[in-house]
Amino acid sequence: MATLHVLSHSPFADSRLDSCLVLMSVRDGLLLSGDAVYALQPGSAPHAALRTRPAGARLYALEEDVRARALSAGDDVELIDYPRFVELAGEFDRVNSWL
């Protein structure tokens, strides 16, 4: 596995998700946290954009942020807690937070 990309900005207000998708490789992962979980909103442009990520690239979302916003995640999203976040930070070669 290569890079775990971490987003926290709303994909509706901000261009980070688009740029992240350009940089991602098939071995990368994408973790949605904070307002970035709004990308899970069905029927929206960011939700469609998420599906353009390289085949094989995994998708994670911080469970507490999804719950806080009354969203739900599809089968292709692994909902994680902080212990799992720590684990992923070790499993991937590097963590790239889009600050």
Binding site: F12, P42, D65, A68, A70
Partner: protein
């Protein structure tokens, strides 16, 4: 006659103090019986979603403050239909009664107020 103020709330609810502090402006104006209204635009419409659980991220529920608006005499609450549609939010998924406006109505709304603050 008192000068009227429209607050345009563009911020998602749980990303820091922005949404809360915007709302506080309106609540403070309501306490003085000033003519105030709120328009939820862009990510601001996420403030209206039902069944949110901010306790999951240790935040206080903004919804209680939003519902207090009417008690403070702030009865004009609007949301941009365009912003809801872009975000896949249906009108019946909202937890607060607001009037949805189309683009032409948004333009007309601004012209009715003496001042506007967009946050």
């Amino acid at each position: 006659m008192a000068r009227s103020l429209l607050l345009i709330a563009r911020q998602a609810p749980w990303s820091g103090l922005a949404a809360r502090e915007a709302l506080d402006i309106v609540l403070a104006g309501g306490a003085f019986d000033l003519p105030m209204a709120m328009l939820f635009l862009d990510d601001g419409v996420f403030q209206l979603a039902a069944a949110q659980q901010p306790a999951a991220v240790q935040q206080k529920d903004l919804t209680a403050n939003l519902q207090a608006l009417q008690l403070f005499g702030v009865e004009e609450l609007y949301a941009a239909g365009r912003s809801l549609r872009e975000r896949g939010l249906a009108e019946d998924a909202l937890g607060l009664p607001v009037r949805l406006l189309d683009d032409a109505e948004l333009t007309a709304l601004l012209d009715r107020f003496d001042e506007v603050i967009t946050l």
